[in-house]
């Protein structure tokens, strides 16, 4: 989903507020650290360190990810998980970090159309592949049917797991799955909801499946 089109400097949303203040805080930290680092160096100062191309990460590798239909050419540390790459490098923060160990499902995205835990995958492994995140599903004006069904069925409380739940649910609809609620519950077991909205999540998914 796009950010609320009405949001702007005079009318910030929570997300734009956090992104703005977050980057301001980061700039302050960098400004405080860089001179200290430069003054302690014995050799010639590295003029590229303060250049505009972003941090010069040692060992970074070039990759291209096709995310929500758009190519992103990136240089990333090989250690970067697909989850951290999406959130920190590409600034698509709709995908959430929960456990970071493949146990909660909050980070679920689609790679080449299949749902995966983005926290247990390295971004470099997906060079050239097609990634779909919650931002690629629908817009506030034109929700994906699964997003609309989650709204209609109240399939969330705090919302933290919701993007992962929806990405899982969208993939489930195309997977082999029996018709009853038990089959849906089994195939959704990789997405934990601490608020316990499970009954409504199952109802939302079944509503979408009935309308196909």
């Amino acid at each position: 989903m796009r950010d609320n089109p009405q949001s702007g400097p005079s009318n910030p949303t929570r997300r734009t507020f956090l992104l703005t203040t977050g980057s301001t805080a980061a700039a302050t930290i960098i400004a405080a650290c860089v001179p200290a680092h430069a003054s302690s160096a014995d050799g010639p100062s590295d003029s590229t360190a303060a250049g505009v191309g972003g941090p010069n990460i040692e060992g970074a590798v070039p990759i291209t990810l096709r995310i929500n239909g758009k190519d992103h050419k990136l240089r990333i540390d090989p250690r970067t998980t697909l989850l951290d790459c999406l959130r920190e490098t590409v600034a698509l923060t709709g995908t959430k970090k929960g456990c970071d160990h493949g146990q909660c499902g909050a980070c679920t995205v689609h790679v080449n159309g299949r749902r995966v835990n983005s926290c247990l995958s390295l971004a470099v492994m997906h060079d050239g592949e097609e990634i779909t995140t919650i931002e690629g599903l629908g817009t506030p004006d034109a929700l994906h049917p699964m997003q609309a069904a989650f709204v209609a069925n109240d399939g969330y409380q705090c919302g933290y797991c919701t993007s992962g739940q929806i990405m899982s649910a969208v993939a489930l609809v195309k997977e082999p799955c029996g018709p009853d609620d038990a089959a849906v519950k089994e195939l959704m077991s990789g997405n934990i909801c601490r608020c316990g909205a499970y009954a409504h999540i199952v109802a939302a998914i079944q509503q979408v499946r009935k309308n196909i």
Binding site: N117, L122, M125, E186, S189
Partner: protein, 333 residues
């Protein structure tokens, strides 16, 4: 996570040549293959695995499921667990394998995890996964705190005074009962390893889990031709209904004629330090009437050598009931 060099080899031979430079293919390996990443990247985040080089095998041509000339099945090392579970031949002829795969992990993880990776997945023992704790498997000679500590989920078969870590796989339990063969390409050529010879008991070297040497790349697994008329069941018992490792599980492939068991292949999960083939249970059933009393006898035979720890004694009776029930389900299917 420690830094590493990321390598994408052009072909299996290049992957093997790079991996052959490692000092070991076991715990502490400085070169690792990555496929799904669901075990390796998890353990790299915990600094339990700290490879200096990671070789991505996802784009090697190891992703096919195809028939073999003898009527069996060849399963590529990078075939995803979900694809294997839903493959029509597997569902028809090797149902126990499909059932075991679908009993493991979550839908997302099954889309990532591969056949080769599942063969090599690591224990969930909490001491192994926590580098602040001693662990003979992770750091030989440091001791096993599980034996005097938290061991409810750990093994009762195949343990030693040095390690009681459980093998966590479901797929491997089915493959043990199906008598799979693991095919490896190494720096000295290719070889086929019977499933029963692939895993090592912990003994005094729990850091060594398999017979793999540096450079060895699992390329595929083969299954023998399906046994006509066999009945197959995978039954898994766990703390919750889904998305949890087994406390006890059983894979059974049995053939019954005239009310008697003419052939039985049995393996247990969740209770052993490796995927646990039970020749004892198989021998107990051979030629016997397929009834509840004999199923219970087979289960008793399977667990005869079980050794309980302070918290996991319940697993012995649980595993017996699991196996007896799996046999009953197969007999009546």
């Amino acid at each position: 996570m420690h830094t590493f060099e990321f390598i994408r080899p052009a072909d299996p031979a290049a992957a093997v040549a790079t991996a052959a430079q490692a000092k070991t293919a076991q715990q502490g390996a400085d070169v690792r293959f990555v496929a799904g990443g669901t075990t390796l990247i998890d353990l790299m985040k915990l600094n339990v695995e700290t490879p200096a080089r990671v070789i991505d095998i996802n784009r090697l041509p190891l992703d096919k499921v195809e028939g073999t000339p003898d009527g069996g099945l060849k399963i590529g090392a990078t075939v995803r667990n979900s694809d294997l579970a839903h493959h029509p031949t597997v569902q028809r002829d090797y149902a126990v394998l499909s059932q075991s795969l679908l009993a493991g992990a979550s839908a997302q993880l099954r889309n990532m995890a591969t056949t080769g990776g599942n063969l090599l997945q690591r224990t969930r023992c909490m001491y192994f996964r926590d580098i602040a704790m001693p662990c003979n498997k992770r750091e030989p000679g440091t001791g096993c705190p599980a034996i005097t500590g938290s061991n409810r989920t750990l093994a009762v078969l195949g343990t030693s005074e040095h390690c009681i870590a459980t093998n966590p796989s479901d797929m491997c339990v089915a493959m043990a009962a199906l008598e799979a063969t693991i095919h490896v390409q190494g720096s000295k050529g290719s070889r086929a390893i019977p499933f029963g010879d692939f895993y090592l008991l912990p003994g005094s070297t729990p850091n060594r889990e398999t017979v793999l040497e540096p450079g060895d790349l699992v390329t595929h697994v083969t299954l023998p031709p399906p046994v006509a008329g066999s009945k197959q069941v995978y039954l898994k018992l766990r703390d919750r209904a889904s998305y949890e490792f087994a406390l006890a599980s059983a894979a059974v492939v049995i053939t019954i004629a005239g009310g008697n068991v003419t052939r039985a292949r049995i393996a247990l999960g969740g209770v052993g330090t490796k995927p646990w083939r039970s020749h004892e249970a198989e021998a107990s059933l051979a030629g016997q009437p397929a009834d509840a009393a004999n199923f219970r006898k087979a289960a008793e035979a399977a667990m005869r050598d079980a050794k309980p720890q302070s918290e996991n004694g319940f697993k012995i009776e649980l595993a017996k009931r699991c196996l007896a029930h799996a046999l009953q389900l197969a007999a009546t299917s």
